[in-house]
Subunit: 432 residues, 2 copies
Amino acid sequence: MPVLNLRSDFAEADTLPEQMAAIGRRARAAARRMALASARTKDGALKSIAERIRASRDEILSENARDVAAARSAGQSAALIDRLTLDPGRLAGMADAVEKVGSLADPVGRQLAAIERPNGLLIERIAVPLGVVGVIFEARPNVTADAGALCLKAGNAAILRAGSDSHRTAMAIARAMSRGLADAGLPEDAIQLVPTRDRAAVGLMLAGLDGCVDVIVPRGGRGLVERVQAEARVPVFAHLDGINHVYVAAAADLDMARTVLLNSKMRRTSVCGAAETLLVDRACAATHLAPLVHALLESGCAVRGDAETRAVDPRVTAASEEDWHTEYLDAIIAVRVVDGIEAAIEHIETYGSHHTDAIITEDDTAATRFLAEVDSAIVTHNASTQFADGGEFGFGAEIGIATGRMHARGPVGVEQLTTFKYRVHGNGQTRP
Amino acid sequence: MPVLNLRSDFAEADTLPEQMAAIGRRARAAARRMALASARTKDGALKSIAERIRASRDEILSENARDVAAARSAGQSAALIDRLTLDPGRLAGMADAVEKVGSLADPVGRQLAAIERPNGLLIERIAVPLGVVGVIFEARPNVTADAGALCLKAGNAAILRAGSDSHRTAMAIARAMSRGLADAGLPEDAIQLVPTRDRAAVGLMLAGLDGCVDVIVPRGGRGLVERVQAEARVPVFAHLDGINHVYVAAAADLDMARTVLLNSKMRRTSVCGAAETLLVDRACAATHLAPLVHALLESGCAVRGDAETRAVDPRVTAASEEDWHTEYLDAIIAVRVVDGIEAAIEHIETYGSHHTDAIITEDDTAATRFLAEVDSAIVTHNASTQFADGGEFGFGAEIGIATGRMHARGPVGVEQLTTFKYRVHGNGQTRP
């Protein structure tokens, strides 16, 4: 089993660059085989992987206990240790999630377009796998299973790089996954975990392993995403920030505005789709600003506001220029009164991060304008920003959310892990 | 008129990086306005641009005469001077081509997907412009008009960088285009030509001008594409080589094979879709190899072959390992006998450039396998490789051909110059 052998291959090889290059070559070879695997074979492999994860429960939990103990000794934060820790319930959920990916429609082989030409040529645009996906993550060991399963479903090979804290757990999960691939007759190298904690391995992945990595997906905090975006020589699917806005426009229904705002901000404050700034139109500020601010304060959210917002309640503190730029990921919101939709859009384009922005209004003309002019991956009308999620979009699962403009934008599901090729069917046509 | 002012702005500004950054900011601002332009406005602008180019005929031809004279003095090749030279006919063709782009369907605003969720949300995936497209080209001054028109049609802003030889001509064309944009009420900065020959400007574009360039399209020879691919910090739509294969499989009709092969190789030898290697299956070599080689030789094509091919005709010279890697762009072909379809696919995957590859056969099973397993942007069955062209695909025009896997692959037409966003329509939905 190559992944099991990998550790010894790795130990014997001369230098880290050579070792990583070998991982890249194995991934490329595996990707060629994966691209031809039928939906049935891939779904069978996902089922086998889920079973292998369940069967490896004791091994995975015991490796996880070692990771957790090491993280505790190293004085890591309670939040990190929570992200790192598996228990039988979380492990079962991970296996179930892998199996569920098997129930999604196969994204490979879809006919995306068909062009009949006057000369009789039929030109088809057909979805094919992207190739090799590099995933770099931090403490959450379940990314191994989640990301590996999505890459597999889309016919790709994956090179996974776990954070130092989750390394042992991720290795145990990756071993189970390779066994599941083998059970289904697919190449074990289709999911490889980089078997070293050496941080230089990340740099080599970002350089593309001699053309053997087609895209990098970072899964982790701002520091990781920033490094990946700065250094990567291959395309990246990622978002750096989710500085998301709720704009309560003129003609907003107050009850709806309150409900959608509270959900956007407070449902979970730590997710990238959480709202960070509230913009209230001057046209409805007299009636809407105070109730919205009070609702936020009563829900336990700290409010930082401009002068008009501070006038509403003494608990509101002053917002500085920096607040409009800040992704709190916490129970804090910045609030500002804006002079109409143009000012709202201008604020969002100036301070936002092109992730997810919402307008609340009963005025369809204003909504249409907002949805057209706000240049974000996701724009919502009368709906919570926290819908920014592949599952909520009906994608089944997502490998992340992208705010780049190329290839994938918004939730990255299995469809976005494919590319396409053109098949041209002729009967002897030549070009004049 | 900013583009006219540009030269003086440029001269007054302090450093090249500052000057280029200003071009980037102007492009970004123009892109925001272009993204909201209606199809009618954009098509009107294309018409105005065509008229302005026609009206500027004398100015453009006179600047072109200066470029040509300078290129002659500098001892440039006849081929380069031919690419550089405009005459009234070529200029009229350029204007007509711009106008024709206006007749294409608007790629912006297309609904690419619509998802109705159980909670009542309607999620639309809508095509929007990519943003700012950087185009770097060499001697052909008509790229200014062609690329500018395609970017405009897709609602993008363009930053164009002409080669030193075509700089004066390109400036004159760009001035006419900015006037046409102004005539239509669109921002003149939507098409900017970098007003300096300083090669450092290219490096700054490749670095992305502080996030103000979304994609780079190089239009020129291998040296340019290689530099762009090596240095670019933003996505690139390009192909480095077109090492394209014609595989004459078992069960190929000999007449069809001959016709398609000669067209693939000899219609125009200098285009990226030209065939460079012929693979003949051993199963039909006895009947097909000699007639195909003789047809090539008689059409004026030099043949370099393996031992079996050399046995066919004394004019066939020996092919070396290097030949299989070579894009001749000339009347030369490398020929090899292969042991079946698997060997053919392996040869193509080993030596090819993932551009365009063809199989000739009456066996549909073999064709299906070839089209599935050959990992090229375009795969054809019983059709010439020279169909690798946006016009031949019905795209109306193309800005180039891409062999990368991200976003665009194959001919890059106006649709591939767009990205998408999600519009979420609700009536107060919150996420549980």
